[in-house]
Point group: D2
Chain length 137, copies 4
């Protein structure tokens, strides 16, 4: 699987009174890295909808382990890769590093969806098309 | 004009490494107070769209003066009132207080809009209907 | 273990272009609920430091499962309880509900720490005192 | 005065259910641009404190005018320059553009401060040293 790199400059306002990253921001950066990855393979949230009818990426679950603190002024790299495919889900794995130092690791399980035929205000998961999977090979 | 009160408990993550509120959060709370105000008069963003075709509240400008610091664990009150009407805009005025202490003052200028007839991806300002104005009297 | 309830009114700005909660906000609300819980037992981040020398709550890991969408204007309840203690960590379990509907479940593993004796800019985990554990019984 | 450029890639989570930037994020980007500017002149928040005893940049007020919508996937540039100096304040002016399109304009009034001699938990404004002003000339 391909690996994608998304740099982040940590802002003053991303940090809490302890002077380190307020942890929900790591998930914000995971999400941003996912969208950059979709964009990099030519399948961002808008083009996917328009060209294929796919709703790319609704979340099933997410988690992270925080390894070392990071602070404002640090530039970190978010590396993402797809770590697992099931019939209807894919797991994106993330590593955030500052130089050689591992700051955080995490994952998100996401789906491809379409509007639910019985109720267009809801969505339902699609079986992931080979065509989507191939984009990340 | 009516005044509306929206309480906010300041979170640890709302504060920056200086230990006080990271200022963009004041605007987040202004916006939340505006939506609560629209809801309180029976004209929230969804019902306004459905019942009147109005897009309530796109922003024209906003500003704030920061008077005293506030920190996590503080409960503050956001007081909002409509301070000025023009043909196509209204200004919401805010005061954030902690007990007797003024923390911040601010304002937002907002419009009522409808989808642009020539391009539904854009919006255009409506002349504000008396019916909307009356809700805040 | 005691259970604590923290209400959240979901804001317009907490939601993304899909119209539902942008998921990192769930972690922001978990964190806010944790701080409310520490406060409720008389051991908030400031009093714990001052009275006991404890740094309450640095994060080791966190995760969540997203069960049903929630949107702006919804009021949800975040229920937190301590689900597991080890010698040096405790896991806070969360359930976010809107009425009977489960919106999200999650957890955080946190520690109690003190400044590192060799380098006060770092922290090290404490063996969790019985006194702290007893607050949640 | 020198002008500084700070690029921002707008994230999915920076946008609201209307599909455009949730406006408090513009202030978040102003703040990030200010910190980048301080860093670029060799006077970031940490070095300023350590080398000069200055607390750089507490906010007095801030405001913005929103000119055109921007959305996720857009890369915008935040241009900052110091637009006015008074004895104890400086105003940073911002322009956010996407190519030729003006997205937002804004300003922040900030101070240089030191811990208050009577109460180190408070700060007081310094007369701005020529040395600081010269960094931006």
């Amino acid at each position: 699987m391909r690996t994608f790199v998304h740099p982040v400059l940590i802002g003053f306002g991303d940090c809490d009174p302890a002077g380190i990253v307020f942890y929900p921001n790591f998930f914000r950066w995971f999400d941003a890295a996912a969208h950059q990855m979709f964009r990099a393979v030519g399948c961002d949230i808008r083009s996917a909808r328009r060209e294929h009818g796919w709703i790319v990426g609704p979340l099933v679950d997410a988690g992270a382990k925080f390894r070392s603190p990071a602070t404002h002024g640090d530039t970190v790299e978010v590396r993402s890769t797809i770590g697992e495919w099931t019939a209807k889900t894919f797991r994106v794995d993330y590593r955030i590093t500052r130089g050689e130092t591992l700051i955080a690791e995490g994952w998100e399980v996401r789906i491809l969806a379409e509007p639910h035929p019985d109720d267009p205000s809801r969505i339902r998961a699609l079986t992931i098309p080979d065509e989507f999977r191939a984009l990340f090979a």
